[in-house]
Each structure stands twice: as structure tokens, then as C-alpha cells.
Amino acid sequence: MRFDRAEAARFHRGHGKPPGHAHPEHPDPAQVARHAEVSSTPGGPAGATGTADDTEAERSATGARREIEVRFDLLDENRRHAASIRERLREAAVFAVNLMSSPGAGKTALLEVTLPRLGSTRAAVLEGDIETSADAERLAPFGVPVVQINTGPFGGDCHLPAPLVADAMEKLPLAEIDLLFIENVGNLVCPAEFDLGEARKVVLLSVTEGEDKPLKYPLIFRESSLALITKTDLLPHLDFDLPRLEENLRRVNPELKVVQLSTRSGEGLEEWLKWLADERGKATHLTE
């Protein structure tokens, strides 16, 4: 095995599968057929960065080079899995919500106060974590199906990828579920890049995190339909500029709905539950 884990681990804490051994998907004939040959090799696009390859001279002496156009979207593979998840959820009439935030913004705490307040709506949870099953254990008392997904062993520890979610869904009785919460891995960057086939993405941002987060990490706020500003019970103790946060949220996503919430004081809980019910209503209406 020649995969240099030590080097990769400096940037990535995962245990990546050596790519040479990762079971490759069957080549998609449509994609193979997409080969279009480009006549000449461009000298690299403007503004491009790259490292010099010291074997280049040696290589060009040994064979003929050509450039083939590919136009392959790196997120396509994840997107295909997400599309099949979306289809399964639609067939089973399950409304799925992907909860995303930095570590500790209050995703599990939100579930702890939400699960007992859903009335006749039958819920289930997929718990994404790098290593532990602590969050799944916190949710055990609520008597809803909870499936733990640990990303550590899959070389993608910073976010949930769609294939892992698809596997975990196999363990859920989808026919007996109306509402599925997916608690993503705590991270404000990577989860935003990976579609999980959910109906809605929700981002949580706690008031201890700083008003500039939306400008620093715009993607997650752009992908979400709802932003929950959490831990608002702490506001009296903090020097937090709420209007500035709201302005920053509007700047990156003018259509984002924003709700202030505290699992301690109960502020915003009703509004959150109403949003859930309304959005689920819309989604079910659309598919009927």
C-alpha cells in the first residue's frame, strides 16, 4: 500500500481508503463516450496554479501526449446518491431535514427539545459524528429510531456524504416515518458541499460564534432555507451584535428565513415547530 497517509493526515484527520484499492464504480458508458479530444494542449489557463512536475521532461520523451476534455463535476457522484435518496424519501412520504452547524452550536439540544413536541408526527434521526455515539445515546430516551453514522472510517470525516446516508437509511423503517432529521457532523464548511437528498437544509449558528460567520462561510448559509440563531438566552452576557448578524445573513442569502432560538428559555421553539410543519405541508402537497 503506497498511499501516504501521514502526509494527507496533516490536512485531513480521516483514514482514507487507498484510492488504488477503493472499489471503483462501474464505468458509466455515457461518461466514457463523453471523451472529446482537444487538438492542442493549452499552456494552462490564466490564473492557474500548479506544481512543477519534475518527471515531466522524462515523461514527454517517452510518449505522445494529448489532452482529453472531460467536464466531470466532482460532486456528481454524491449528487447521484442524493437523487436516489430523494426518490426513496418521496416514495415513503418522508420529509428530511439536514441540520448543519459548527461543533456545539446546539443541534442535538434542538432535537432533544423538538422530539417530544411533534405530536402525531413520527420522527427518526440519523446522527452523524466522527467517532462517538454519544449524541445517539442522548436521543435514545425519546423512543424514536436513531441510527448512528460514524464518518471516521470513510476518509470523509468532516461531513456526511450521501452514500453513507443511503446505507444508514436502510436501517430505518421508512414506511413508519414522517419526518427524518439528519444531524450532520459539526462543521461550518464541508457539510454545505454535499447534498444528502434532504428536503430542507437548516443551519444553526450560536450567539457565541460571532457575527461575521456568514461572510466567512457563505456557502452553508446560501444552501440553507432556515437559519436558527441559537443560545439566545446567553445574549445578556455577551457583546453580540444581533442586527449585524442579521444583515450579514441577508447579504449572503436574501431569501434565508431567520429564527432566534434558545433551548433553555424556549424562545423561538414554537416558530421552529411551525416552520417544520409548514414546510412539510408544502413538500407533501407538491408530491401529491
Binding site: G50, E67, L219
Partner: protein
């Protein structure tokens, strides 16, 4: 950081693309387009690419990353502009700007090398 999982997906596609060219074909340069709104750090991507390429047809290949600036068009006045300072609101109309570029994550092309006298079918 998800550059490693991206690099591994990239490698799977490169191997798939090179398959029709026979077992001796190698990737020598890989051209990637990355939109400015993607959370991809070029240096991390380079490192992960090198690590993931080991033992594959792209071992030792050069990764060329072209960064694409985010651009958008205002839904009100229709003016197209670069989205700087992460501003998705039109400064003239205060209306949303629809994204035109900036979210790319595209393996655009691969430079391949085939041994002499062994052209592909």
C-alpha cells in the same frame, strides 16, 4: 476539510477516463476548475491530490487548478457583476443577485500520455 474525499473521487474518474487508452496510458496533467465559493483550499487540494494519486495512473501528474471568480446577475436591474466581499445583494437595487459562476468543481480535462506506436482505438 474534504479535499481528500474530493481527491479520491477525482482519482476514480481519472482512472475511468483513462481505461479506454490501455494499461500503459498515464495522466500527466489534470485541469481542475474551482469556483471561488467552493470551500476548497488549493494547497490542501494539491497535497491530497499527490497522496491520492500514488499507485494510480495519475501518480506524479501535475494538478492545475483554475480558480473561477464568482459572478452574478441582479434579478432587478439585470446587471452582471463580480461578487466581491461575498455580497449577494445588488448595491443598486438591494435585490438578490443570481449566481452565474463561482460554484464550479469540475475536472475539465486530462493530459494523457500514451506510449509511442501504441495509439488507442
Amino acid at each position: 476539510m474534504h479535499e481528500m474525499s474530493l481527491a479520491m473521487g477525482l482519482m476514480r474518474e481519472i482512472e475511468r477516463q483513462l481505461e479506454p487508452y490501455g494499461p500503459e496510458a498515464r495522466a500527466t496533467r489534470v485541469f481542475l476548475e474551482v469556483g471561488g465559493l467552493r470551500a476548497v483550499v488549493p494547497e490542501a487540494m494539491q497535497l491530497c491530490f499527490r497522496a491520492a494519486a500514488q499507485g494510480t495512473v495519475a501518480e506524479g501528474a501535475e494538478l492545475v487548478i483554475e480558480q473561477i471568480a464568482p459572478r452574478g446577475r441582479c434579478v432587478g436591474c439585470g446587471r452582471e457583476r463580480e461578487i466581491d466581499h461575498r455580497l449577494f445583494l445588488c448595491p443598486d437595487c438591494d435585490l438578490p443577485v443570481r449566481l452565474l459562476t463561482g460554484e464550479e468543481l469540475l475536472l475539465r480535462s486530462i493530459e494523457i500520455e500514451e506510449p509511442e506506436r501504441k495509439g488507442h482505438k
